[in-house]
Point group: D2
């Protein structure tokens, strides 16, 4: 028993709550944006109920470091782009944007434009006073996500269902034959052999859109990334910690970490810890021998050919074996599938290194 | 219309609210401590309703910089001392201490002892996460005072009235004849001529208990002090600002500022602003020609005769006139009454200087 | 005897010293700028010897908080203005600017221009690494002023005397009759009755040029001001401390503090300390009932009529008497002379308040 | 040509210099301690002349990150231990300790004792005002090392030679046969095959005494380490930078980096840079599969068996090959010699991994 307790959740100001309910009732065509606080406040079910009561599309906020909503749900519209103009473009046609559990918004890079489409208003619910203070548009309500959603739900009328078919297109077809494989092909090959329950982590910045397109996560607490700060080097040790926590809590889900060859270098020493601790992590290293996200950024800025962004000659198999991980090189989609499946079956720490094409995705996906 | 809004109040976690209601229901003999957040959140009426529902004694938290509860109410028990042992002594016999809108607690000086009487538990409600984090005892609920009180009231049963007569003794008798006057005599003489509605401010640290005994404030938003930090020099300019705000808002209450001759020196230049702005402030300067609170502290620490604490030879009448204030010297209780009454009648900025006895009050009142 | 010692002076790099000596030898027409470090390093005599060896004009660096060179010396050219263009203008015709003991340079306000006249080079000697680092032009030698001057003197040839008559014009004629008096008239009346040895302090920012024109100080350690930061409120308590130090060291020079009525308000409480300590300070308060330097600055910026810069209605005689100082009001030049003379004769702390004309001097003198 | 110059060296206060010269003349038995500022100020020759003028023993200051004095010189007495009591013990019998270019002193760990032997005084010369301020004993003179030494040398009389034989014992005999090799055996095997001119770097904390005993460096600018802060991870990238600087300046000395298997992990990624840049560095990795210095510290503190200090299972050969370095495993002294010789001959970046005994040296050597 603790010596003393301090509450860590706060509920919304009731007047503000009523005002939001009124604005929703008056809205012609609302849209929902859910962010990572949904995960931290364990509001997964409340979020689904809220979305279904509104029968509104649900977007995942840009750079959400945790998954807030089932990406397999027919109302899920996708992940918002992290750029002012393009983001507003996705919200076109809506008169009310309801953001729950996210900053408004994480933007990178800067793309000029209006924060919101013409005619739209925005309400933000966040438990972070700083995020409330610095939002450039909208009215902010300070509250825990779950307490907000549970408090407002009884005040909302059920809206008529207007969205029958899933909002999101199925993943784009992918070429599994051409070598080196494209990132999407690797993700497809990996995805097919994943177990029922697993945790996905990601630090392959230039391939985020392809990853989001392939891996549509339908369960809570199943995705983690360092997208919020953009700092590299977090995901490897975090994946190991997640695997250790899964074991300690008895959930025992393995962790799949998708990581670039550059990202893999920041905290490569953590692989030793993973091996010594017997952490159930499968690292899939996408090796394009370059610092892709910075090349994409240089292209975006109109300053291509920045020096120092090539990473040739790294023998990642040798490195991973040096730390004691079960390691293999997979060149074809079939090898990827076979080796990742074996890694999941084997338990413990594995590394599958996959050479990929150097064709850059654009910075905005 | 503002460009955007951000809520500034948060409500309590409903689960925590229920737990507090249950603890109150189970309590044999609760006691209430109200603090300055009550004033800031405009919870005056809710606080009275709460106290009357519980039929429990109400203490003002130590060093409350705003008045949270009518000191004329039969349930008001007084102001808690700001020292660990003595404070716990006042709460003896209670099994549940309900603190709303205050840190737990402001202590000065250090007096060893238990934080709570034996057998007592404590619940703190505060809107300040730092205050919640650093409370040494009790369970803390993060919430705006008013939202907490309004939310819990419907959950509380009416307790049987057990306190018929006022809890607080009437002010001690005072000698109005002996010169120089004692601080209590000055306060009594001043109090008698105060108008119906006024604001009291205070920066006469060594005379706080005598002030609290004489001035029992029954209306909200009527007392302000810098007791929370102990820093001197705040009250003169704050009094002027309050008077200007009263004029601007049309409430037009005059300000009575009780201030020591030492305190009067810290921001003496603000008197010029008061005069130029025509602020309705009556400064009553208690002149004992010493730095009384530090002498009391030195006595308390067993290190008397600290040098540099005497302030002889200050002609405060000359100083105040230099800045243009209507100024007079009052030596007797009658002069005090006459001159303060005239000051209130005259409007604008006045200074009444009153020589007082140097007999020290003890540091703990 | 101290437990341990640490040297606080550093000598110049010998190679750099030689280089400076060579540059002086090669210079056709050098000019000297002395700053406050000369005072701190006790290099008064060395500075005179250096100037006379070079037979070069000596300027006092802008905003020097201590006097570095006899202002009565035929080689003294005056005080440099604190503005880029005007300062360079004063140095016109010289090919080498030798700055000893000063930043390069304190500028206020910004006046665009070249840092140096065409064809001129600059050498700075300073004991402050930060000042050396941030000088915008010239070559900096890190050294104590005195150690530099003593080390370079034997390396310098005596230059032919070319400056027979004093470089500086005598003080401008002054009108002692018209009332209210101009600042220059006050200074002239005061100067005439000053004792042989005294310390001058100054915090009357809008009258600095007039003060510098009248008071030409010929002895070391005789002028102190807070010109270096521009912060007001330093000079009153500093004057008192200087007087106490003079008494303690047996030099017993009185302090003359020239101060504006606005400046007088910042630390007015220190007057009480002066009186209680019996410090020999004569405060001459120039009362123009306005915040002159800011009005001058507003004019300079082309934004006249800034509100809040008038200070009418201050009865400074009453204020100073309130703190116990011997105080009088002097309206005419004769009264100024008589009262200041009496103040010096009387010892202890005196205040002479002198109403002056509101005619603004320009910001650049 | 630079736009402007700022001197970076300061000479000593001449008075302080005279005082030091007088103290040296009066000293019966002085001793010299040289530190890393000697290297930075290029005072190698001046330091030798100073020592030979005094005919005094010369110690290297504890944790000197650069070599200040030829360790092959008959006057070199060794490296002082970094502990209060033991250090004073080494200076026993001297009446004057002359420290040039070092803090007084770097201590780790804390071993109680007197700072100096009884009857000894200390003079410190340093260019670092912070080091001067915080020295716990002695008189500090602020100066560049070279400028101090050159300035004092003409003031010093030649002392009679009293030290004929080298002060320092030859390296202890070493067992080259027993496997795994002891660190001293590895160093001996390496030392024999080193080229005439090379740079030594070191980050094998638990083997510093053995390294210092074997590698006695007789040339300036030939040893670099991060001993001053104790932070690990500096030496690998620093070695690479040194090799690149040697190439750029045309001196072309190769770098020998002695490094522990734990230290090798901190910045292991820098090996990739070394390989890509073709830096001439030979890394000799001493693999004892433990964090030796912390085990030694735990023993010293009487808290042995701290968990988490073993490093089994690192395949360093595989890691180094992963980054592209020419890598080999050397188990015997002969293999060490052969492989290190080949590495020097081959040019470019090489790694020789040597398993060593786990027998701990004591923390104080």
């Amino acid at each position: 028993m603790p010596v003393r307790t301090v509450t860590t959740r706060t509920a919304p100001d009731p007047e503000a709550l009523e005002a939001v309910a009124d604005r929703i009732a008056a809205s012609r065509n609302p849209v929902v944006v859910f962010g990572p606080e949904i995960g931290r406040s364990r509001a997964w079910d409340a979020g689904i109920a809220f979305a279904e009561r509104l029968e509104a599309p649900v977007w995942t906020a840009p750079f959400s470091e945790r998954n807030p909503f089932p990406e397999t749900h027919r109302l899920h519209a996708g992940v918002l782009p992290a750029a002012i103009g393009p983001l507003a473009g996705r919200l076109q046609g809506h008169d009310l944007v309801l953001v729950v559990g996210a900053p408004v918004f994480r933007y990178y890079p800067f793309v000029a434009g209006d924060y919101l489409p013409s005619g739209a208003a925005l309400v933000q619910v966040t438990d972070d006073p700083d995020a409330a203070a610095r939002a450039p548009v909208g009215d902010s309500v300070l509250s825990d996500s779950k307490l907000f959603l549970e408090a407002i739900l009884p005040r909302l009328a059920q809206r008529a269902a207007g969205i029958a078919a899933p909002l999101r297109r199925p993943p784009a077809p992918v070429d599994l034959e051409t070598l080196p494989l494209a990132p999407a092909a690797v993700f497809e090959a990996v995805r097919k052999v994943c177990p029922q329950d697993f945790i996905l982590t990601d630090e392959s910045p230039s391939n985020v859109p392809a990853m989001q397109d392939r891996f549509r996560i339908g369960t809570p607490d199943s995705f983690y990334a360092c997208l919020s700060s953009g700092g590299l080097g977090w995901t490897m040790p975090a994946s190991i910690g997640l695997a250790m926590a899964e074991r300690k809590t008895g959930r025992n889900r393995p962790v799949l970490c998708l990581i670039g060859d550059g990202s893999f270098q920041y905290s490569i020493q953590s692989l030793y810890t993973a091996v010594r601790q017997g952490a159930d992590v499968v690292f899939v290293v996408l090796q394009n021998e370059e610092y892709g996200i910075l090349k994409a950024f240089a292209d975006f800025q109109g300053t291509p050919n920045v020096p120092g962004l090539d990473l040739p000659g790294l023998d990642i198999v040798s490195l991973a074996r040096g730390y004691g991980a079960a390691t293999s090189l997979a060149t074809t989609a079939e090898e990827v599938g076979t080796q990742v499946a074996a890694a999941f079956a084997r338990k413990g720490t594995s590394v599958v290194v996959v050479p990929i094409t150097r064709k850059l995705a654009g910075l905005l996906g």
